[in-house]
């Protein structure tokens, strides 16, 4: 293990990684000492969206299947964690993972019909699925209908069991741990045969089949892990906010579109692009939202209009996102040299 770390630190990327990890670990302490709850909250959101955008990108960047429906997995993960906690007193330490698994199963079930559609239509279908889930949860009494579910404040001695803490500080470490877990699973995955097969499917399904690849099977593998970690993101939401309702968790804009923009802004052809994208996009969009809502309260919806402008600008001007742009400018090693892919 020590040997592994030593070797990792000799590599330039390994050094960057170590520095970023150290900053991430220290930052919440600083926020807590200086009493900066907003900064802590923003960091938590960045991490949550990092987890989800990276998961989303396994489907889009690697497999070429663009989803506008990841709110489904987020919502299912959030509701599962909440229901286990509220109805069955299952600790969210377990519930978050069960939530991820349930989301992954939902993903597989949806994959069966949706992967029959060509790429554009797949994207459109995912929007439809999101809306349908919202409608179902609104009229489903067991999950609290349109009012949603709220978990009560628990006494001091149960705080650890129910993962209930004031502010975002503790949850940042939770999210960091889960992001770390995701990196540990995703990185070997994309470097393995599966990762190569996914990229072959993205490039050309007919060619992939001629190489012995079953596109449906591998799309389902991508869907499984993509939905799994997005569901885990939903679990973090539940423990942090102690409240889930169908309008919030199945929201096209503030969940699915946020994930999409974060992923695309960071760069979908880069493994860590979605994390970079989340840390750039989430603070900006939160700032824009708060600023516009307080400055122009009469122009409801204006901040989403601004999101549209941002998304259009990325699509037209920098479709490869921040990482692609950095690479083009020569700030990063070319992906050819690192054995990774490159998209024109």
């Amino acid at each position: 293990m020590l040997q592994f770390i030593k070797e990792g630190l000799r590599d330039r990327n390994g050094q960057y990684f170590a520095i970023v990890a150290a900053v991430m670990l220290v930052a919440p302490l600083i926020f807590w000492k200086l009493d900066l709850p907003f900064a802590a909250n923003a960091m938590l959101l960045c991490l949550m969206f990092s987890i989800m955008a990276m998961a989303w990108n396994l489907l889009e960047g690697y497999t070429g299947q663009l989803s506008f429906g990841h709110a489904v997995f987020f919502g299912v993960g959030a509701y599962t964690t909440m229901i286990l906690m509220l109805y069955y007193r299952v600790t969210p330490w377990v519930g978050i993972f069960v939530g991820g698994l349930v989301a992954a199963l939902v993903g597989l079930a949806l994959g069966v019909p949706l992967f029959r559609l060509r790429s554009h239509w797949f994207a459109l279908a995912t929007i439809a699925v999101g809306e349908i889930f919202k409608l179902i949860f609104i009229s489903w009494d067991y999950v609290g209908g349109s009012a949603g579910l709220q978990s009560p404040i628990v006494p001091e001695e149960q705080k650890l069991y129910y993962l209930q803490y004031a502010g975002s500080y503790v949850y940042i470490y939770l999210a960091l741990g889960l992001l770390g877990l995701e990196l540990l699973i995703m990185y070997p995955l994309v470097k393995s045969r599966i990762g190569y097969y996914l990229q072959a499917i993205r490039e050309d399904e007919d060619a992939a089949m001629s190489l012995g690849i079953n596109p449906f099977k591998y799309k389902m593998v991508a869907m499984f892990f993509s939905a799994l970690f997005t569901g885990i993101g939903g679990g973090i939401y539940t423990v942090r906010f102690r409240f889930v309702d169908p309008f919030a968790v199945f929201d096209l804009i503030s969940v699915s579109v946020y994930i999409t923009i974060a992923g695309i802004l960071g760069g979908i052809y880069s493994f860590i692009g979605p994390i970079v994208g989340s840390f750039v996009f989430v603070p900006i969009s939160e700032y824009v939202r708060v600023y516009i809502v307080s400055r122009f309260p009469r122009f409801y919806g204006l901040h989403v209009f601004v999101l549209g402008v941002i998304l259009l600008a990325i699509s037209l001007l920098a479709p490869e996102g921040i990482m692609g742009w950095l690479e083009k400018k020569g700030y990063l090693r070319k992906r050819e040299e690192t054995g990774e892919v490159r998209k024109e």
């Binding site: 889009e60 070429g64 663009l66 506008f68 069966v112 019909p113 949706l114 029959r116 559609l117 790429s119 554009h120 239509w121 994207a123 459109l124 279908a125 929007i127 439809a128 699925v129 809306e131 349908i132 409608l135 179902i136 609104i138 009229s139 096209l252 804009i253 579109v257 999409t260 695309i264 979908i268 122009f296 009469r298 122009f299 409801y300 919806g301 204006l302 901040h303 989403v304 209009f305 999101l307 549209g308 402008v309 998304l311 259009l312 990325i314 699509s315 037209l316 479709p319 998209k343």
Partner: protein, 291 residues
């Protein structure tokens, strides 16, 4: 027990509302058929059509039926503008840029409208709104009946346009073989903006019709885009007239199923129908295997 007359009523009202779904679906199918681009903002151009009608009625007292050409022309112009400024730049770009660009247009139109008009439900009260005809046990609301005939008229006019005019024939040529059409001297780029303009214009007429009997809202496009999408998949993707028929089928399905389950779940039924179709016949009801 639900009586037969209820079912008959539901079928008829399903056909009437379905004819509006058809218009939105036809626009989407046309754009896909010609350009291989999905316009994610299709439902939002329909919303614009509804609001053009609303403002023409509220500010100038223009009868909604007279604003049909107005809302067509306004959205046609906006569609051509969108095509020129956005779509044209991403036609040769990777798939993801095409999708995110038209999705960005969706966000800008939907929430731009919301910022401009306010997040409120609006309604037009025309004098003939409550005129009801009865045929035996079936009762028909006049505005819905008008909507059906206008929609039928638009579909027929569009059919005649495709079959008899030079532009119509050129459009069909482009949809069948872009390269061959280009070699035959057809200005493909011009066909693109015509297709996009007509595609969103037809949907906007649907918006105008809906505004005469249903409340309208800046975010209404989301619902109709969902329906349009189901309609187009059902109708066999690029098939414009398949879309017309399947719009009516979806309308009937929804309105009949609303008799048996909570009306708020009727869209879920339409969606399940859609899932069933792509599982059984992925090329859609009226689609064929491609070589």
């Amino acid at each position: 027990m639900i009586g037969l007359d209820y079912v008959a009523n539901a079928v008829v009202s399903g056909i009437l509302i379905g004819s509006v779904y058809s218009l939105v679906g036809m626009g989407l199918a046309l754009i896909w058929g010609i350009m291989d681009v999905i316009n994610f903002a299709q439902g939002d151009y329909m919303m614009l059509g509804a609001f053009v009608t609303y403002w023409a009625f509220t500010l100038a007292g223009v009868d909604p039926l007279l604003s049909v050409p107005l809302s067509f022309l306004v959205t046609f112009a906006l569609g051509v503008l969108t095509q020129r400024v956005v779509i044209e730049r991403v036609l040769d770009a990777p798939m993801v840029s095409q999708i995110t660009a038209t999705f960005a247009v969706l966000l800008m139109i939907r929430y731009g409208a919301e910022a401009a008009f306010g997040p409120y439900t609006k309604r037009i009260y025309v004098t003939y709104a409550d005129v009801i005809y009865r045929f035996g046990t079936i009762s028909l609301q006049l505005p819905r009946l008008i909507a059906f005939f206008v929609s039928l008229g638009v579909a027929v006019a569009f059919y005649v346009f495709l079959k008899t005019t030079y532009t119509g024939v050129a459009l069909r040529a482009v949809s069948q073989n872009r390269m061959a059409a280009y070699l035959m001297g057809i200005n493909v780029r011009k066909m693109y903006w015509i297709a996009f303009g007509i595609g969103v214009g037809i949907s906007a007429v649907g918006g105008t019709l809906v505004a005469t009997f249903l409340p309208i809202h800046p975010e209404m496009g989301g619902f109709y885009a969902l329906i349009a999408f189901i309609v187009v998949v059902f109708g066999g993707f690029g098939s414009v007239f398949g879309a017309y028929i399947s719009g009516i089928i979806i309308g009937v399905t929804e309105s009949v199923s609303a008799l048996f389950i909570s009306p708020s779940l009727k869209d879920v039924v339409a969606f399940l129908l859609f899932i069933a179709i792509i599982l059984v016949k992925p090329t859609g009801l009226f689609g064929t295997e491609q070589r």
